[in-house]
Symmetry: C2
Subunit: 320 residues, 2 copies
């Protein structure tokens, strides 16, 4: 699949896209947040929204229709409410791109533009995060022009190497983190901007789902409007320091956390090399890096806790 052609085919048919809807559940929803963020920040002709699949189905956006593009993602391809959402969007006349790792699944249906992605830790550009950033960059470029176009393409060429080096850089740190916090009673994840849903995903997928650890997720800017009142020694924070426009928010929350607890870990995109990507588009690459870093930190926890990341007690095991 080629993002440029997918978009040019859609625009050839639709002439214009007015709305993009990103729809998925859990970890797949997390994957789509950066692209939604990109459209809001960079498009002067397209609006973007972001929905968990069942809510999209139960109370669909009024404007979903012929001039809409729905981007619907399910790794397994068979999440029932996600498949339902894709069909509903198609029924309403939207162009529908489904992203899935599973050929032959419910998402892999001739009604949709189906993008089956590989799952390779070393080629994150080919994951839903990279694909949707590429798709949205093409959409804005082809519909209205986008000054940062070449810079995004260059960034997509660089990000896998940046992530690979960052994995090595943090390896020892993840072990130290796990040694100290593998039995933390709660971990607060903190982030902002395009990265905000990486804070969400680390909490709900990596910690709750994969480690059965209690977690909560706080926006760096919102931290000062309530959540900081629980900060004290013994309460653990995982602060994501993004590269780009939102970094001042992350710096502010980190400063306060450092002053009021000794129990925190900092994952810093600038220190980890994301600054090699052009400043005007670097914001949109944070999620790719931070997802990879979360994978490293959770692996260290899993090792210490003797709790493999694949272990579930409910998901796919009991009725729900």
């Amino acid at each position: 699949m080629d993002a440029k052609k997918v978009i040019s085919d859609i625009l050839a048919e639709k002439k214009e896209i007015k709305d993009v809807y990103f729809v998925a559940c859990g970890g797949s929803l997390v994957d789509l947040y950066g692209a939604d963020y990109f459209i809001k920040a960079e498009s002067s002709t397209i609006h973007s929204s972001f929905y968990t699949s069942k809510e999209f189905v139960l109370n669909p956006p009024k404007q979903l229709g012929e001039k809409s593009l729905a981007i619907v993602c399910s790794h397994s391809g068979n999440t029932p409410e996600t498949v339902e959402a894709a069909h509903m969007a198609k029924d309403r006349g939207a162009a529908v791109i489904t992203l899935t790792h599973a050929a032959g699944s419910g998402c892999d249906n001739d009604r949709f533009i189906v993008w089956v992605y590989p799952w390779d830790d070393d080629e994150l550009v080919l994951s839903p995060m990279g694909i949707t950033l590429d798709l949205m960059t093409e959409l804005v470029q082809q519909q209205e022009g986008f000054a940062g176009y070449e810079h995004v393409k260059e960034g997509l060429g660089k990000i896998s190497a940046i992530v690979k080096a960052a994995r090595e850089t943090v390896h020892e740190r993840t072990i130290a983190f796990a040694d100290k916090y593998d039995h933390a009673s709660i971990i607060y994840t903190v982030g902002s901007g395009a990265n905000w849903f990486q804070a969400y995903g680390l909490a709900i997928c990596s910690l709750m789902e994969m480690q059965w650890m209690h977690a909560s997720y706080i926006h760096s800017g919102e931290y000062f409007h309530g959540p900081f009142e629980v900060t004290e020694k013994g309460v653990v924070y995982y602060q994501m320091m993004s590269a780009g426009k939102n970094r001042p928010m992350d710096e502010r929350s980190l400063k306060f956390i450092k002053e009021h607890t000794d129990d925190y870990v900092v994952v810093d995109a600038v220190e980890l090399g994301l600054g090699a990507i052009s400043e005007d588009v670097v914001d949109y690459f944070n999620p790719i890096l931070f997802y990879a870093m979360s994978c490293e930190y959770r692996a260290a926890l899993a090792h210490n806790r003797n709790h493999p990341l694949e272990t579930r007690r409910y998901m796919g095991k009991v009725a729900y």
Copy 2:
């Protein structure tokens, strides 16, 4: 102030509103979510987005401009990033409505359409939640027509009495809840739809900020895509059962919670009388009821914990 006139004045000047931006921090941001949700569900001509103030300032939406309306809320009127956001939106040419409880504050500036609201537990219609629902109902009605217009107006006339009766209904329950869970190690709040940010607000404002209790907030639909793996006896859930289209999501998460832990409380809008509001618009009244219920539950916790709701260790007390 009168919502109908505020909107007709804006439309007289702007001819058309293409985008609404809801901007605030913390509890004030929570207040705006229902109106954002309303526009997404009910308008065929207006797009809506929702931002914490600092992120709105640092990375503003590309489309913020002459055809935009920014609704900016600060209870104290002086939240620095919120005042900054209001000025930034005005500088970009948007119509700006500021909502504040504090006449003479930074939000009370001649550059803005200033709505100073009272703060009366018995007249929640006059709170930012009620005001913004009224404003958005007027906006959709005046710009494009809205079939539910009269039903919203009727609902605004009914909601204060519904809330008052609901407060009495839950009073004994809040005491039982506090007796059982006043020292819970974590409380998970669960909700969906227009109510989703009530789950957020209960966690970050009522529990973290006002009681220094650990909390996390889970979307009822997302619960099954990760978070449910931490559910077990001893883990406390506060499930918000909304009235309206999203109720099936809340029913599904509640069913699972009941099957896997004994430690939960259910606050049910239907049982508490919200069904008296017309079915086509009842969704948008959930936040008003649930905010009031959260106030009752947190008051019971505060009493048991001997921790007044106004006590802060950081907010307004230390540098940040």
